[in-house]
Symmetry: C2
Subunit: 199 residues, 2 copies
DNA sequence: CGTCTATTTGAATGTACTCAAAAGCGGTGG
DNA sequence: CCACCGCTTTTGAGTACATTCAAATAGACG
């Protein structure tokens, strides 16, 4: 049925990195939980603790927080086959400052931290898989820090669309702006400049 | 002798997080390597792969890179009892973009990645220790990203001296500036503004 | 079609940078 | 002990990048 198809999407995703036999696949599938959310729904809000790893099967999500001046800042955007989480809260067990929100109707697969720890014993390769994922989260965060410190907003925008064209088309402008660390007005200006430059 | 004292400094540091018996302590000490460097010496340069975890016993270091416009950007500053590394390169095994440089005459303790992996089997608690360290590296990177996106340079400077007064006094101004993501000239201006504000 | 939200436009402003020059500071050698 | 050299910090003027605020326009959805 439908849920099986969704579960297999995650299994395929695991298999891109680690090999899994049928028994292991069964162990994993037994621990998965499918969750459907509507546009604007929250998976996590400030004060809560993130207790799941979350995989986007269909749809798109974002992670953001609101600063003291009530400004939104987007830390992560995600679409199909991406993991989305506040790793800080998940790893430390402390309460989050983040909103994790659906950008459209979205189907996720969740694995609770407790179940994942059990799975690590049954399928040790999964532990490798998530260690790699967390590493690459660190790496992309570092790359973003470097990017933010090194180049101006126009270059950041160009790099962004070069790397994430599919993402740029699915999220509203003001969310992209809050990801790039600029105002929506200025992004609007940059876009005009960009379309003028390429034509 | 002297080296023993330095090794014990790291053991004490481990023991703040995990408990270790005498046998474990001996296993660890057997794998440590003490390294002394002079001011301006490099532990790592772009193109090299970071193959050690590095603990500062005495002295201070920084991690920085140079962007396309030949600007230096400092990612990490460290003093006694801090770990200093390009985790990206260490974890991924890929070549680094970073310089790791001594800010003064410095004594470090290094553990090679190969030795550390052996140690993880002899002293599994160490694996927990470093997992926690890598987590907190992720967390502080995320906090810095948030800080950079949320507040202006003056607030960042105030927060910096509030958290790292001891560091601020040991590094030259232009390095602090490159850590805060501003020019040395502008930091000079902010410092004047700050001393005027507190007096 | 009307309402609500998102985007665009423009003017005024502010934050931080560039460049150049002067001043400060630490070490070295005479 | 002083003079000099190189490096770091300060100062200031001019400029650029990005924000704020307000108003107009465009799009999406019931």
């Amino acid at each position: 049925m439908d849920n099986d198809k969704i579960n297999l999407q995650l299994i395929r995703h695991f298999k891109e990195i680690v090999s899994l036999n049928d028994k292991e696949v069964q162990s994993i599938i037994a621990k998965l939980e499918i969750k459907k959310v509507n546009r604007k729904d929250y998976l996590l809000q400030p004060g809560q603790i993130s207790r799941h790893m979350r995989f986007i099967a269909i749809g798109s999500m974002r992670v953001y927080y609101i600063d003291e001046k009530s400004q939104e800042h987007t830390l992560q955007l995600g679409i199909e086959n991406w993991w989305i989480n506040d790793l800080y809260s998940y790893l430390s067990g402390k309460s989050s400052r983040m909103f994790i929100q659906a950008n459209e109707q979205t189907i996720l697969i969740q694995i609770s931290k407790t179940n994942l720890e059990i799975l690590y014993r049954e399928v040790p390769k999964l532990s490798d898989f998530f260690r790699l994922k967390i590493q690459s989260a660190y790496v992309s965060l570092q790359e973003r820090t470097i990017e933010n410190m090194s180049v101006d907003a126009y270059s950041r925008y160009c790099d962004f669309i070069a790397h994430f064209r599919s993402i740029e088309q699915r999220f509203p402008q003001y969310i992209i702006a809050s990801y790039l660390g600029i105002t929506p007005e200025f992004l609007s200006f940059l876009r005009k400049k960009h379309t003028a430059a390429i034509s």
